[in-house]
């Protein structure tokens, strides 16, 4: 009965493995010299995650078309793939084979480190000096050992999206700046019978992000940096993050049955609850502006009540209160991609293209000179907070790589489900690092 489908899953795992053997003896580096650029016709395959219909998807189509118009020798073939599929199955398998896409979505951090160690990516340090200077510190996430292997086109920090109208009704004067104030706001919101905070714990990562933020408050920046590079999690601050989380969950700030709630893209999801006036707050990244619009029944109303504030500080904690958790999306070229690939990458992060991207409202641009494209007030406040952040920590599951990230998220969700402990999160991370 389920035989055939199981076979597919296994076959997928196995056939990709078979491809390794085929991929082992593929050709060497064929980088053509700069003078050869645009001489011969080339086709670039481009894999990105703008798979849902909307401004994000159509914008990338326009970018590809514009570039081909500027350089008629270059043809661009787009394949838009849902994020999880792209990141977990399609890309790893394609990179193992001898026919990877030329330019593809890259998230930086631990995953990119592994890809560089396996010699999959084109090193572009020398070619993108101007672009890196224009992007600033955000570009560092796409570096490994000081060398550039990709460039971001979107970057933003995480914060709390909230319903201004509900806050006013509950008598909350200003967005909470500390966890004490956040707790007080939760109590006031309960008093007017609304769900204070929606969390999509069903998808694990939206719940795990609460722990990440508490770790950011409990741990010093040095500890976090060291954990990202060495994957050592001995500092007691990681246990403290779990204890703070448990205490916070015990105040019951979340909707009932949150363990079944999906994170996004669906009216019953956590951002669906915020978008449709069923919850007052949600912790989420800058892309949420776009996803909220896709699930809102009344987008005009959403625009009137939506606000954003940074994750509150915890008084007396060693973490930097101005540090923020964030991340972005970028693109890398595979090792044997034609030189035109790098030119296209540079085009994507150029101020004009970035400004157009900002105007789609699907995320925050990274290039200076593109800020003017940001129109939404909530996104504007994120832009301000991002540039004002003293340190931006990449999402911990991305920073530590999929193996540790997955185990960490599972152990954090266990705390949410009521059968985990702060200590188990740390031991799960250590166990996964050795797997």
């Amino acid at each position: 009965m389920a035989t055939k489908r199981r076979a597919c899953a296994v076959l997928a795992l196995l056939m990709t493995s078979v491809l390794v053997v085929a991929g082992c003896n593929s050709g060497g580096d064929e980088a053509s010299p700069q003078s050869e650029l645009y001489k011969n016709p080339v086709t670039l395959t481009w894999w990105h995650n703008g798979s849902q219909d909307g401004p994000g998807k159509t914008y990338w189509e326009k970018v590809a078309k514009d570039f081909s118009a500027l350089h008629p020798t270059v043809k661009i073939e787009i394949e838009a793939i849902e994020t999880n599929q792209l990141q977990r199955t399609r890309l790893p398998a394609a990179l193992l084979s001898n026919d990877p896409p030329d330019i593809f979505q890259a998230w930086g951090g631990g995953e990119m480190r592994e890809q560089v160690e396996a010699d999959y990516l084109k090193e572009i340090t020398g070619q993108v000096k101007t672009e890196v200077a224009n992007i600033g510190s955000a570009a560092e996430i796409w570096q490994v050992n000081g060398k550039q292997y990709g460039l971001p086109f979107r970057m933003g920090i995480e914060g709390i999206w909230y319903n201004k109208e509900m806050f006013a009704r509950a008598g909350i004067a200003a967005p909470p700046a500390t966890f004490e104030e956040l707790n007080a706001a939760v109590t006031k919101l309960k008093a007017i019978n609304v769900v204070p905070i929606a969390v999509g714990a069903g998808d694990k990562w939206p719940a795990a992000h609460w722990w990440y933020n508490l770790a950011l408050r409990a741990c010093s920046v040095d500890t976090l940096k060291k954990a990202s590079t060495d994957r050592v999690f001995d500092d007691p601050c990681f246990v403290k993050a779990g204890q703070d989380l448990k205490a916070f969950i015990d105040t019951k700030p979340f909707q009932p049955n949150f363990i079944a709630t999906p994170g996004q893209n669906d009216p019953t999801s956590a951002n669906g609850m915020l978008a449709n006036g069923k919850a007052a707050m949600e912790l989420m990244g800058d892309w949420n502006r776009g996803t909220l619009d896709t699930v809102a029944t009344d987008t005009a109303k959403l625009a009137t009540f939506l606000g954003w504030f940074p994750v509150p500080a915890i008084s007396g904690s060693p973490g930097d209160p101005k540090a923020a958790l964030g991340g972005g999306d970028g693109f890398s070229c595979s090792k044997n991609a034609p030189a035109e690939c790098v030119e296209f990458l540079k085009y994507i992060v150029s101020p004009e293209v970035q400004k157009g991207y900002a105007e789609t409202g699907t995320g925050l641009p990274v290039a200076k000179g593109a800020d003017a494209g940001v129109k939404d007030p909530a996104l504007k406040s994120i832009l301000e907070a991002t540039s004002g952040a003293s340190y931006v920590q990449l999402w911990l599951d991305t920073a530590y790589g999929s193996t540790v990230g997955n185990a960490m998220n599972d152990a954090i969700v266990a705390i949410f489900a009521g059968n985990g402990t702060p200590e188990k999160v740390v031991s799960a991370m250590k166990a996964a690092a050795s797997k």
Partner: protein, 332 residues
């Protein structure tokens, strides 16, 4: 079997003694015949065997090979760890949860689907108006794609969804619970959905078996004064034996490998906590999502071995009479 062959063989040899030239001619004709038969066998089976080897045996071999490595799927596998992935799997409480869930689904399917299907099949085997419609309706869930059924039930079972509303309107509001989110409830919810989906398959199989039960037997029994129940108990059900055993076999193998219904219907968080994981979902969660490719292959091998052993035991002990000659017997 062997003794019969031993007797027959010398007899065949003895018949080859008369007139020398004739024998040689006949022998060469027989040899040509044998050769032709072999050409046919090789010619007809080579494509199938080649495909089987390429897409079944070779990947299986690779799975076993990769399961011996600590390998994240980035670059070729280099770090040989022997059987470490296997010991790690059996030390992981979530994998043990997955094994337990598979056992629940195997026994739940047999013990719940079997009696329901048998009862309904016996009823549907009687003549009454609209029987064809009922037979069709019973089979509908099985025809639907598993993913479709999974999403449908997920929508019906969400908090304050249709199922909850129905229970409340029937005055059974006390029964309402987080069907797919409660760690203790979810596996039973999934078992109910699987039963709903697959009971139709068992019924159709049993109805086919029932059509092979000769009417004369039941008529004779009826003339002898046997009641309907006595006829079923002493004639129909025993004659259904082969069909029931084949269904059990398919059900056990399917239950061990169940994947998509669980994957689609249950919540990722609940699944990764072990409450609704099965071996197959555990394999994908670890192989792809945690990017432990060597470990994922080890889990795939464990799943294969368990299914294979179950299949062998079934053939050896339960299906032996039914498939005598078909699989284990000698071709004549």
């Amino acid at each position: 079997m062997t003794s019969a062959n031993q007797i027959r063989m010398p007899a065949g040899g003895a018949s080859a003694s008369p007139a020398g030239s004739q024998t040689a001619e006949r022998a060469s004709a027989r040899r040509a015949e044998t050769r032709r038969k072999w050409y046919e066998i090789v010619g007809l089976t080579t494509p199938a065997v080649a495909i089987y080897v390429m897409f079944v045996l070779v990947p299986m071999g690779f799975a076993v090979y990769y399961s011996l490595f600590r390998w994240r799927g980035v670059g070729p596998p280099t770090e040989f760890v022997g059987l470490r992935n296997y010991t790690l799997a059996f030390q992981d409480p979530i994998f043990l949860d997955a094994l337990r869930n598979n056992a629940i689904i195997v026994f739940g399917s047999l013990l719940i689907q079997g009696p329901i299907a048998l009862g309904i099949a016996l009823l549907l085997n009687r003549r009454f108006r609209g029987r064809a419609v009922f037979r069709l309706l019973v089979f509908v869930p099985y025809v639907l794609a598993e993913v479709t059924v999974g999403i449908m039930w997920k929508l019906l079972l969400t908090g304050d969804g249709t199922v909850d509303a129905l229970l409340r309107s029937l005055g059974l509001g006390g029964l309402v619970q987080p069907w797919l989110a409660d760690l203790d409830v979810v596996i039973w919810t999934l078992l109910a959905v699987l039963t709903w989906k697959y009971v139709g398959f068992a019924i159709i199989l049993l109805l086919a078996g029932l059509s092979n039960v000769p009417d004369e037997l039941t008529e004779a029994a009826a003339i002898d004064g046997a009641s309907w129940w006595q006829i079923q108990r002493h004639i129909t059900i025993p004659l259904l034996g082969p069909t029931i055993r084949i269904w059990m076999f398919l059900s056990v193998i399917g239950s061990l490998q169940v994947f998509d219904m669980i994957w689609v219907t249950s919540v990722p968080a609940v699944r990764s906590l072990g409450a609704s994981a099965t071996m197959a979902t555990y394999m994908v969660d670890n192989g792809f999502f945690a990017r432990l490719w060597g470990y994922g292959n080890a889990v795939a091998v464990i799943l294969f071995v368990i299914s294979f052993v179950a299949a062998l035991l079934f053939q050896r002990f339960l299906l032996r009479r039914d498939i005598e000659g078909a699989i284990t017997g000698r071709a004549k």
